[in-house]
Symmetry: C2
Subunit: 263 residues, 2 copies
């Protein structure tokens, strides 16, 4: 793990690190309480499509988990995102969405990539890569004394669920997860995704938007149904894909406290 930069502000130490996973460099952020020196509950945050490891909502949530709960939080750039963008069209979408958000756009709508078959295949392939990376990232995180053996939670909606749900299903170190803004459909790769959902056993908080322009209500209900965990709940709000109210961050916190405990 190469530490690229480290800063501390308002009690939160923020490290920009590079992790090596096979041939890939995975850029990541690690947030910990200032002076943290022992293992603690840690939330891995998987950003959404066109976002990255320092998207405003990722950073805001990570700092909250550190300041309110004394947890650690970790975010990576998913394949093809953030510092790993290689496709100019993705860069343009990322710019558009960030611009709309910073301009105070509250429509809840998101600019998304083309959905032609080739683009979809590339997306599925990137998601599979992202799923594999998380376990390798976690292997390296447990070596940090201020993270250690956790326990670990995962937070990721939309693409963060496409990538994170199979990761949570496969890696028994994750003991609770917030997922959402995703569904079961007939898209490529969805059979394996459904199988992963059915194999989940850890507590799941599933967030969904009732007027999501990217997926049908039924696909979301089907995914919630498929989730195998006995302890699961689905929280539905009206509005578009990125319209989940910010106050639900309180809900994520109480969910993690219930399952990962306090420091």
């Amino acid at each position: 793990m190469d530490v690229i930069e480290e800063t501390t502000a308002k009690g939160v130490t923020e490290r920009r690190v590079d992790l090596r996973v096979g041939e890939e460099i995975v850029p990541a952020m690690i947030w910990t309480p200032e002076g943290a020196d022992g293992p603690r509950p840690t939330v891995l945050i998987g950003h959404g499509g066109t976002q990255h490891k320092q998207a405003p909502n990722v950073v805001a949530m990570a700092r909250r988990f550190v300041r309110h709960l004394g947890y650690a939080a970790v975010a990576t750039d998913a394949p093809g995102h953030g510092d790993r963008i290689v496709d100019p069209a993705m860069a343009e979408l990322a710019r558009k969405n960030l611009e709309a958000r910073l301009a105070g756009d509250t429509s809840g709508r998101l600019a998304v990539p083309d959905r032609d078959p080739e683009a979809m295949r590339a997306m599925v392939s990137r998601s599979r890569q992202g799923t594999k990376e998380w376990s390798a990232v976690l292997d390296q995180l447990v070596e940090l004394p201020e993270i250690g053996n956790g326990p670990f939670g995962y937070w990721g909606v939309s693409m963060g669920t496409s990538i994170g749900l199979p990761f949570v299903a496969a890696d028994s170190r994750i003991t609770a997860a917030v997922l959402g803004l995703n569904g079961l459909s007939d898209r490529p790769g969805q059979e394996a995704f459904g199988d992963a959902a059915r194999s989940l056993t850890v507590p799941i908080l599933f967030m969904f938007q009732w007027d999501d322009e990217l997926m049908t209500r039924q696909s979301g209900l089907d995914l919630f149904d498929a989730i195998g965990s006995e302890d699961k709940s689905m929280v539905i709000h009206p509005g578009g894909h990125v319209g989940t109210p910010l106050y639900e961050r309180d809900l994520y916190e109480s969910f993690y406290v219930r399952h990962l405990g306090t420091v």
Copy 2:
């Protein structure tokens, strides 16, 4: 308002009162912080079918609102319930359900009244009476200096929604409500119920059980859809009618704090 009994324990003053509404005596409980002497946010609690104003979950929630938030809480016996039971069959159902609960039954199942046409008509008529009573009860509560002009929230699921939803829709003094365990169907009286749901404008937190033996998933989703409020959310858990996890009381609290404020 006749005060029948008053006790104080652990900082919570509990009054058993009789209110007069037309020809009816409405027995009620009022919980306030010990020594409370000014207006404060107040939650009106409508119990479920076969329950009453001092059912264990009603009392537990009321005391929480007082101890955690400094709020007042009020519960009444709905028509035909609690001290107002006139039907021996209802008394037997109430006994059965309480017994199962006290014995630690976690099946989430509830013994319910017969659903023959005459019994259904009587239930609808009792619910209408209960709806009217709440506004008359509130008229009397605002006279208490320790409650005053609130603001007021409502909490009631199952029969507490059958009775409470039309009350919340009709009485503009209620500015936020937790509803749930109810749906839109073709039962008698459902047209007016749907109209009331569509006319709602205040924030609504709608709780639902995904395997509710008393109503279909679709009826619950239809009721959530019908609710006219812009600020609404639906929280779904697996399990039967009375299986909502107790930890969701934290959610009710944060909902009321958001909308009724703090003391």
